[in-house]
């Protein structure tokens, strides 16, 4: 018999219903005559509280609630890459086709195109015994991603039937396996998975490889590991979204999942228009060939905003299980936390800090714990999920609950500074407040792959910046002229680091992406200049001579003038520095 509940109460996205015996917690339900998508978030005797993912306007008490028997899930299969979905995995291009430019309610569409056929290569034979996660078939999903059909987690068995290589749509049964208890599992081109449940893996591995982003301040000063976590807190206009977009474009991950959670519609449109045109420096193919967008913008229903984060990460885990390195950007996790708060408020739960529910830290921890570098089920490949969440603190005050609790669960903290942004120093990542706890884990990689002295160089630059900040405090009180020349030289060199290295213009075709080698050499050349100039201070050469406008200016422009494959030009610049200071020294010798 079909179970059917009855609505008793409606308050925005929160709906209560009775006659709900037999429904399960977190079950996906269809609510009201329009069959809006909802999820059960509380069961109490015969009645249930439901969070509805669409606008409830016009709904009446007495309308029905329909059961589906399964939790809110996503469809995992080909057609995810290059697509744009809403928070509950409805493909936005399909919604447009059906409903026009405004999102209507109750529209149900399949997440993945049921008609499209894929050219499969079957990798198993009848009689093979398959474990969970083992690969059954593969094919090109895009020009850069090979999609792998896996045995769903928890299933295994002997292949009793398989189809030949050929073209199949997602609903096609391509193999049947029978386990020891004689249970038969049909394998199709897709599987379903509940969004709130992490997908299993064999083992968690230690982190030791950086996720290179092409952003100098990040890769060189505060690197994140593949499988790691980072937060980007910052007030409005500080550059969170731009930084996330830069990461989505230039990170050396295989797959990017970009979750626009409660932010601007135009920012998603921007990605949609720009990414197909951009070329991935590694594959030479369009960026969209490796990107998935999840868009639940600020004007879309607030409860789907809450779900969008989980939808995104579950898609990510699916590709991780194929052995890919996935990077997920969530902009902004604060909007997700606020969605939790809004729902919690409507449920009249007892609030903890600033109205947020007491379970906020638990939810944040669960979310960031889904990142990691793993050995996959079945094939025992390596795959990873790196998670980078933007945080939008009210009034740019980092002491608020979301920033503080996030800080507990992430290991990179890329703090954006309002005053840097105001003076258009971008990316406005504060070198004094940010940190990366992955430095030690990554040190061997940098030493082996970039340069033996990488870390020493980084530490020297960092101490110069710290020293400069201390000196600036003095300068603000008494002016620069009273400082001795060796300290004034530090101010000048720090300025070179800030402008010539840390500042990176996202709109400049050359500057926007620095490979790790260019980063090394840019920093190296600045410190090289320092090393040549320093001895002259001792010989009483005045700072006004040491700071030669032409030389300094040229050095500052290296980031814009030297492309990644022209590093020799930076190396050659050493000669110019040598020549200049040699001449200067000579003229003072006499």
């Amino acid at each position: 018999m079909e179970k059917q509940g009855k609505i008793t109460f409606i308050n925005g996205p929160v709906v209560e219903a009775e006659n709900m015996t037999g429904y399960i917690m977190r079950e996906l339900v269809y609510v009201g005559k329009l069959k809006l998508v909802g999820e059960i978030i509380e069961l109490d005797g015969n009645s249930a509280t439901i969070q509805v993912y669409e606008e409830t306007s016009g709904m009446k008490p007495g309308e029905p609630v329909f059961s589906t028997g399964h939790p809110l899930s996503v469809q995992l299969g080909p057609g995810i890459i290059g697509n744009i979905f809403d928070g509950i995995q409805r493909p936005l291009p399909f919604l447009e086709e059906k409903d026009g430019p405004f999102i209507q309610r109750g529209t149900r569409v399949s997440a993945l195109d049921p008609e499209k056929e894929w050219e499969l290569k079957i990798l198993i034979e009848e009689g093979d015994y398959l474990k969970s996660g083992q690969i059954v078939a593969e094919f090109d999903e895009t020009s850069v991603i090979i999609h792998k059909i896996m045995v769903p987690p928890g299933k295994e068995g002997e292949v009793i039937e398989r189809v030949p290589d050929g073209r199949y749509s997602i609903d096609h049964v391509i193999a049947k396996i029978k386990d020891k208890e004689e249970n038969i599992t049909e394998i199709k081109l897709y599987q379903e998975w509940p969004i709130r449940k992490p997908r299993p893996y064999l083992d968690r591995l230690e982190l030791g490889v950086p996720l290179l982003t092409g952003q100098r301040v990040l890769d060189t000063f505060f690197p994140i590991a593949k499988g790691g976590t980072a937060a980007i807190p910052g007030g409005f206009g500080a550059g969170k979204t731009m930084t996330q977009h830069q990461l989505a474009k230039w990170s050396d991950a295989d797959i990017i999942i970009y979750i626009g959670c409660g932010e601007r519609g135009n920012e998603m449109t921007d990605v949609l228009e720009e990414f197909p045109e951009l070329e991935d420096p590694e594959t030479g193919k369009s960026m969209m060939e490796r990107t998935v967008l999840i868009a639940n913008t600020s004007n879309m229903p607030v409860s789907a905003r809450e779900a969008s984060i989980y939808t995104g990460i579950t898609l990510g885990e699916y590709y991780r299980d194929m052995g890919y390195h996935v990077a997920i950007m969530a902009d902004s996790t604060s909007r997700w936390a606020e969605a939790l708060r809004e729902i919690s408020g409507r449920l009249e739960e007892m609030p903890a800090e600033e109205g947020f529910p007491a379970y906020l830290p638990t939810r944040l921890a669960e979310f960031y714990e889904r990142a990691g570098y793993v050995k996959t089920l079945g094939e025992e490949n390596e795959g990873s999920i790196s998670l980078i969440g933007a945080v939008s603190p009210p009034g740019a005050d980092f002491s608020e609950p979301v920033t503080q609790n996030t800080k507990r669960f992430v290991r990179c903290f890329w703090a954006l500074d309002k005053s840097l942004a105001a003076s258009r120093h971008f990316p406005a990542v504060s070198w004094l407040d940010s940190y990366s706890e992955y430095l030690n884990d990554l040190e061997p990689w940098y030493k082996d792959n970039v340069n033996e002295e990488w870390f020493e160089l980084r530490s020297r630059a960092m101490s110069l910046l710290k020293e400069e900040s201390r000196l600036q405090d003095i300068v603000q009180l008494v002016g620069e002229d009273v400082l001795p020349d060796n300290q004034r030289l530090i101010l000048e060199v720090a300025k070179l680091i800030k402008i010539g290295f840390l500042q990176q213009n996202a709109f400049d075709d050359i500057d926007r992406y620095s490979d790790i080698n260019k980063q090394y050499w840019l920093l190296k050349i600045i410190l090289y200049l320092y090393d040549q100039a320093q001895p002259l201070v001792k010989k009483s050469v005045p700072i006004s001579q040491l700071k030669n406008d032409e030389l300094f200016n040229k050095l500052l422009r290296l980031k814009n003038t030297v492309a990644n494959d022209e590093i020799d030009k930076i190396k050659e610049f050493r000669q110019e520095i040598d020549d200049f200071y040699q001449q200067l020294a000579d003229s003072y010798q006499k």
Binding site: T8, F9, I10, N11, E55, T56, S57, G58, M59, K60, P61, G62, I84, L92, P93, L95, D99, P101, F102, I103, Q104, F236, G237, G260, G262, R264, G265, N266, M268, T269, A295, T297, S298, N299, P301, V302, R341, E342, G345, P351, E354, G355, S392, P394, G395, D397, A422, S423, R424, H425, Q476, L477, V478, G479, E480, F507, D549, F552, N553, R557
Partner: protein, 464 residues
């Protein structure tokens, strides 16, 4: 359809009333309330359970009583009738005629809450609007389809600036396709008159639709007014293919009305007593700006808000800044020094500028020179605070140059007459005049190519 009428209320609390023993009531449907004296008001269902409905009365509950008030449920959400006849007309906050032109009759009725625009269907805004105001055009360029608010304070000339932008921005290629939707929320009578006069003087009145809720009108109407206005804007933009500039003032009064309603409902308050959903609520208004693929029209929004205590971290400017595509921030200190428009450029920003300026739209050097002006002016502020400690005379030569630059920047670039419109060439050329006050090697945001082309080099005598 039979519309049942109920007599008697269970409870009255500010603009909220509770009706018991109802059935077949829908969430968010419209309600008609008849007061004991026969006056009819409108309202909306905020919450409904099997036998009880909570209703928000737009005109407020003054004059209602428990026994005799009558309530009728209208079976549909709030809609407004729209046609091109709305141009040149004045309406109240709930969309009823407030001039003597009579009601609008139209077959086409539109739900004031509209539906969220599919991000996939949006067209990314790229065409810049020349406002003729140097600070705006040069440094925080307004783009057609953008939402760019003015963050102001009490007594600052935000109305003058909004009026000037409206007046000067209309001069485009297709004038007849341009209209203004003006929505007043809780502003003073003289402010409203100021706008009407200014529209009249610039000869656009025939292309203005006004929705006016003044300071002494019921505050709960303020929550409806911008929704009605934006529905009209959507109609004009996406059905009549017009370019619409929506001026919304004052978002602070709007948010206060929302706070009042929330506290009446006994909701858990967030920062400074504003409801936790203020962000989503404001987004449901601001995100209605934009453009749609394949349609000609556009909605550009200029919301105005007065920051309580000039505090930009107050929830209203803060949440607004998180949603809008930048902000124009006014500064009292500049105003007191007689700089109009008193725009504090450092916290100001146009997020859409990056894709709407440059060789294709304005000029190749636009984005670099603007970034250089920001950087230089930001240094001016550092120098000023240093000067206040050690004295101007003790400043280094170069810092003294910066001070001079800062002074000229404020008085020649920012400062501008209310009726003076500078075209983009003039603005950029002014920018180069000023930046050329600084020595070349200070200009780290400009490429050598740009410097060679536009920098005004001086000879020994200081002549350019």
């Amino acid at each position: 359809m039979l519309k049942k009428e109920y007599t008697g209320l269970a409870n009255i609390n500010g603009p909220l009333i509770v009706i018991e023993n109802v059935d077949d009531v829908a969430y968010d449907e419209m309600v008609e309330i008849t007061a004991p004296d026969g006056e009819v008001r409108k309202g909306r269902v905020l919450q409904v359970s099997s036998n009880k409905a909570v209703v928000q009365v737009f005109e407020g509950s003054t004059g209602l009583n428990i026994n005799e008030s009558r309530v009728k449920f209208l079976k549909e959400p709030m809609k407004v009738a729209l046609s091109k006849d709305i141009l040149g007309r004045v309406f109240n906050g709930v969309g009823e005629a407030a001039d003597d032109g009579g009601q609008i009759y139209s077959e086409n009725k539109y739900d004031i809450n509209s539906k969220p625009m599919n991000p996939y269907s949006r067209q990314y805004p790229r065409n810049y609007i020349q406002t003729g105001v140097s600070a705006v055009d040069g440094l925080m360029t307004l783009i057609r389809g953008q939402k760019l608010p003015i963050f102001s304070g009490n007594g600052l000339p935000h109305n003058q600036l909004a009026a000037q932008i409206t007046r000067q921005a209309k001069l485009g290629k297709d004038d007849e396709k341009f209209a203004v939707v003006f929505v007043a929320m809780g502003i003073k009578h003289d402010e409203s008159r100021y706008f009407i006069k200014s529209f009249e003087e610039s000869g656009v009145l025939q292309n203005v639709v006004m929705y006016v809720n003044l300071a002494d009108d019921p505050s709960v109407e303020r929550i409806i007014a911008p929704r009605v206005a934006l529905t009209a804007a959507e109609y004009l933009a996406f059905e009549e293919n017009m370019h619409i500039l929506v001026v919304m003032t004052d978002m602070t009064s709007y948010s206060e009305a929302l706070r009042e309603l929330s506290s009446r409902r006994g909701e858990v308050p967030g920062r400074k007593g504003y409801p936790g959903y203020l962000y989503s609520d404001l987004a449901s208004l601001y995100e209605r700006a934009g453009m749609i693929k394949g349609r000609e029209g556009s909605i550009t929004q200029i919301p105005i808000l007065t920051m309580p205590n000039d505090d930009i971290t107050h929830p209203i400017p803060d949440l607004t800044g998180y949603i809008t595509e930048g902000q124009i921030v006014l500064k009292r200190d500049l105003f007191q020094r007689d700089v109009y428009p008193p725009i504090n450029i450092l916290p100001s920003l146009s997020r859409l500028m990056k894709d709407g300026v440059g060789a294709e739209y304005t000029r190749e050097d636009h984005s670099d020179i603007s970034s250089q002006l920001y950087a230089a002016y930001s240094h001016v502020n550092e120098v000023k605070s240093l000067a206040s400690v050690i004295g101007e005379d003790e400043l280094s030569k170069i810092d003294q140059k910066y001070l001079e630059f800062g002074e000229k920047f404020e008085n020649k670039f920012l400062k501008q007459d209310k009726f003076n419109s500078r075209d983009i060439e003039e603005t950029l050329s002014l920018a180069w005049d000023l930046i050329s006050e600084l020595p070349e090697h200070e200009l780290d945001r400009l490429s050598e190519k740009m410097i060679d082309k536009y920098y005004r080099r001086k000879d020994e005598n200081g002549e350019t």
